[in-house]
C-alpha cells in the first residue's frame, strides 16, 4: 500500500510537538545515515549520531562553468553561513601526504585524478569536525556524472545545489580580465571587481589557463559533463544566472540557501492572517481554505454566529456588539476555542483572520494551545485601503458589487441606484485603520516568525506569495 495514503493515526498534540522539534526531519536524517552506513550495531550508531547533534547544518554544492564566479560566490556563502569552504584546490592541499603527492603529481602531468582518490579525500575531509559541526560549501566538484554518483553512494547528499549559469561568450570575455591574488587565492576582475587596496592591486597576477583557446576547451569539457551531473541532483537544484552583478548573484544564491527543502513530514497549516481593514484577509483566507481544504475561521462571523445561535457566549457579546464596542477578550477566546478545538480544525488545519488584534489576544491564543505555524502580515498602504473601501458600492437590485475605479457600473441607471455600506465611509475606515496601526507593532513583536507580504497587488499574486510560504518550510534565519 502506498505509504502516503495510509491514514495517519497521530494525535493532534503530537503533530504540533513533532513539528516544533522537527522530529520527522530528524527521523529522515537518521534513517538515511543508517541505510547508507549499514552499521552492525544500529543502536550504538544512532546514539552516536544523536549525540553529535548535527541535523541542521548547511551542506551545499556550487557548480558552474569556468569563470562563472563559483569561487567568489561560494566563498561569500561559506563566510556568511559560517561553514567550511571546500574547493578542489584546498581539498588536494589538505589531503593526507601520500594522497596529496599522488594528486599533485597527476595534476602536473595533466592527467585526471581517479574517482576513488577523490572520494577518499572528500570522505576524510567531510568527517573533520568543522564540516560535521558547521556544515560545508563545496565548489567546483563534482566535474563528471561518475564523480557525482560516487560521492552520493558514500552518503554525501548536499541539501542545496546551485548551478551558476552564463552564456559561453560572456564567460570567455570575463575570463580575459580574471586576476588572481597569489597570496590569498581570491579572484578579482579588471573591470567588474577591481580590489580597492593598492597593495592587493600590485600583486595581482593573470590567471593561468584562461586564454581564449583554453576557455573554449574547458567549456567544451564542461558542456559534455554538466547534463549528467544535473541529473544526479534533481532534488534541491537551483540555477542562477551568473551574468549579473556579483551582489545580485550572491543575494539570489543566499536566499535559496536559506530556504529549506520540502519534506514529507505531515503538516497541518495553522495560519493567522493579519492586516488592516480592506487588506484582503478574508479573500486570501477563503482562497487558502478552498485550495488546501483548511477551515476558514473568521472571528467576526464566529461572534455573529454565536449571537444568532443564542449560546451563552453569544448572549454576553450582544451588548458590546450592539453598542459597537470590542467584545472582551475572554468571551472571544471562548468562542474561538470552541471552534478551533473541533476535529476538522485539528485534522485539516485552519486559517484565522480578524483575530488577534492586540498582543494580549495573541498571547491568549498561544496560551490556549493554538499556536499558529504561519503568521502573515498583509501590508497595504493606508491610501490604498481607503481607495479600495470607500469607492466600492453594491447594486441593491442585482446584488452585484462595483468599484468606482476598477469595476465601474456599466450604465447610468445602475450608477444612480448604487448604495454604499455605512462601514465604508472614509471616517469609519480611517478609524479602523487607526486601531490596527496602533497595535500592529506589538503583535509583530510577539510573532517573531511572521512573514510580511506586500498585499497591494493583484489578489492572486498575493495568494501565490502566501501559498509558497505555507507549502515550504520557513526559511532559516542567519
Amino acid at each position: 500500500m502506498d505509504q502516503t495514503k495510509r491514514p495517519l493515526l497521530i494525535p493532534p498534540e503530537f503533530s504540533t510537538y513533532a513539528e516544533k522539534h522537527g522530529i520527522f526531519e530528524m527521523y529522515k536524517k537518521l534513517m538515511e545515515q543508517l541505510i547508507v552506513g549499514k552499521p552492525a550495531d544500529p543502536v550504538a550508531f544512532l546514539i552516536d549520531l544523536l549525540k553529535r547533534d548535527t541535523h541542521d547544518v548547511p551542506q551545499v554544492i556550487i557548480i558552474g562553468p569556468p569563470a562563472s564566479g563559483k569561487k567568489t560566490i561560494s566563498k561569500m556563502c561559506a563566510t556568511k553561513l559560517r561553514t567550511a569552504h571546500l574547493t578542489t584546490e584546498n581539498l588536494i592541499m589538505e589531503a593526507e601526504t601520500d594522497l596529496k603527492m599522488q594528486m599533485l603529481d597527476l595534476q602536473k602531468k595533466k592527467q585526471p585524478i581517479p574517482i576513488d582518490v577523490w572520494v577518499k579525500v572528500i570522505e576524510e575531509r567531510i568527517k573533520l569536525p568543522d564540516c560535521v559541526r558547521k556544515g560545508w560549501v563545496m565548489e567546483g566538484f563534482p566535474q563528471t556524472r561518475e564523480q557525482a554518483l560516487a560521492i552520493q553512494s558514500i552518503g554525501i547528499h548536499p541539501k542545496h545545489c546551485v548551478l551558476l549559469d552564463a552564456p559561453d561568450t560572456v564567460l570567455i570575455e570575463r575570463a580575459h580580465g580574471k586576476r588572481v591574488d597569489p597570496k590569498t587565492g581570491d579572484i578579482y576582475h579588471t573591470t567588474f571587481d577591481w580590489p580597492s587596496s593598492t597593495e592587493v592591486q600590485s600583486r595581482l597576477e593573470e590567471a593561468e589557463g584562461y586564454g581564449e583557446d583554453d576557455m573554449v576547451e574547458k567549456l567544451i569539457e564542461y558542456h559534455r559533463h554538466i547534463d549528467g551531473i544535473l541529473t544526479c541532483f534533481t532534488k534541491g537544484l537551483k540555477s542562477v544566472n551568473a551574468d549579473q552583478p556579483q551582489a545580485d548573484v550572491f543575494l539570489q544564491v543566499f536566499t535559496y540557501l536559506c530556504g529549506q527543502a520540502r519534506t514529507n513530514a505531515p503538516h497541518t497549516p495553522r495560519v493567522v492572517l493579519l492586516g488592516a481593514t480592506g487588506s484582503g484577509k478574508g479573500v486570501q483566507a477563503s482562497l487558502l481554505a478552498t485550495k488546501y481544504n483548511l477551515v476558514n475561521v473568521s472571528c467576526g462571523s464566529l461572534i455573529k454566529q454565536a449571537i444568532a445561535d443564542e449560546t451563552k457566549e453569544g448572549q454576553t457579546a450582544i451588548p458590546y456588539v450592539s453598542k459597537d464596542m470590542l467584545v472582551p477578550d475572554v468571551t472571544v477566546m471562548q468562542i474561538l476555542r470552541q471552534r478551533l478545538s473541533q476535529m476538522d480544525c485539528m485534522s485539516r488545519g485552519w486559517v484565522l483572520h480578524g483575530y488577534p488584534r492586540t498582543r494580549e489576544q495573541a498571547e491568549g491564543l498561544t496560551k490556549g494551545g493554538f499556536v499558529p505555524n504561519r503568521v502573515f502580515f498583509l501590508n497595504v498602504p493606508n491610501d490604498s485601503v481607503v481607495e479600495r473601501l470607500t469607492l466600492r458600492a453594491t447594486d441593491p437590485i442585482t446584488g452585484d458589487r462595483y468599484h468606482m475605479l476598477y469595476n465601474p457600473p456599466r450604465t447610468e441607471d445602475v450608477k444612480a441606484r448604487l448604495q454604499k455600506l455605512p462601514k465604508d465611509e472614509s471616517e469609519q475606515v480611517n478609524k479602523r485603520l487607526g486601531t490596527y496601526n496602533a497595535y500592529v507593532e506589538e503583535i509583530s513583536d510577539f510573532y517573531v516568525d511572521a512573514q510580511h507580504v506586500n498585499a497591494d497587488q493583484d489578489p492572486h499574486t498575493v495568494f501565490e506569495c502566501i501559498e509558497s510560504m505555507i507549502v515550504n518550510p520557513l526559511p532559516r534565519k542567519v
Binding site: F14, L34, V43, L46
Partner: protein, 139 residues
C-alpha cells in the same frame, strides 16, 4: 515497489538491512515513547531510550517499553469486569494484538475451554512485549 526478498539491488539490500536489525520497529517504538512522553528535549530523551535498550540487550532484562505489568493488569481487568479470573480466547488474542504483541501462543493453557487465566495472559503479554521492544538483530 520491490519486496524485501530481492537482494542484490541496493533497494533490496537496504530493506534487508532494516529488516534484519528491526530498525523500523525500533523507530516505531521510539515514536510511541516520544508521543506518550512528549519530552522537552527529544534528542536527549531518545539517547536515553536507546541507551536503555543497549543495556537491556546485554542483560536481557528491562526492555524500554511503554507498557508495564500494571497496564497488562488493567487490560485484563477491563476484559474481566466480574473478576472471574479468566477471559475468553478471543478476548485474549484481541487484547494481545492491541498491546502490540505479534507472535503469541495460539493455543494457550485453557484455550480449549475458552478460559484463559490471568497468569497465562500476563506471561504471554510480558514475553510478547519484551520481544516487541527488543529491536535489534538476534545475535
Amino acid at each position: 515497489m520491490s519486496t524485501a526478498g530481492d537482494v542484490g539491488t541496493r533497494d533490496g539490500e537496504a530493506r534487508q538491512y532494516l529488516e534484519n536489525h528491526r530498525v523500523l520497529e525500533l523507530f516505531n517504538n521510539l515514536t510511541s515513547q516520544l508521543m506518550y512522553n512528549r519530552p522537552d528535549e527529544p534528542k536527549k530523551f531518545m539517547i536515553d531510550v536507546l541507551e536503555k535498550l543497549q543495556k537491556s540487550k546485554i542483560t536481557r532484562l528491562d526492555y524500554p517499553c511503554l507498557f508495564d505489568d500494571s497496564n497488562i493488569q488493567s487490560v485484563f481487568g477491563m476484559l474481566d469486569p466480574t473478576n472471574r479470573g479468566c477471559i475468553a480466547f478471543q478476548q485474549y488474542s484481541a487484547a494481545l494484538t492491541t498491546l502490540g504483541v505479534k507472535d503469541f501462543d495460539q493455543s494457550p493453557e485453557g484455550s480449549a475451554e475458552d478460559r484463559v487465566t490471568f497468569e497465562t495472559f500476563l506471561k504471554e503479554a510480558r514475553k510478547g512485549l519484551s520481544e516487541a521492544s527488543s529491536t535489534f538483530a538476534d545475535s
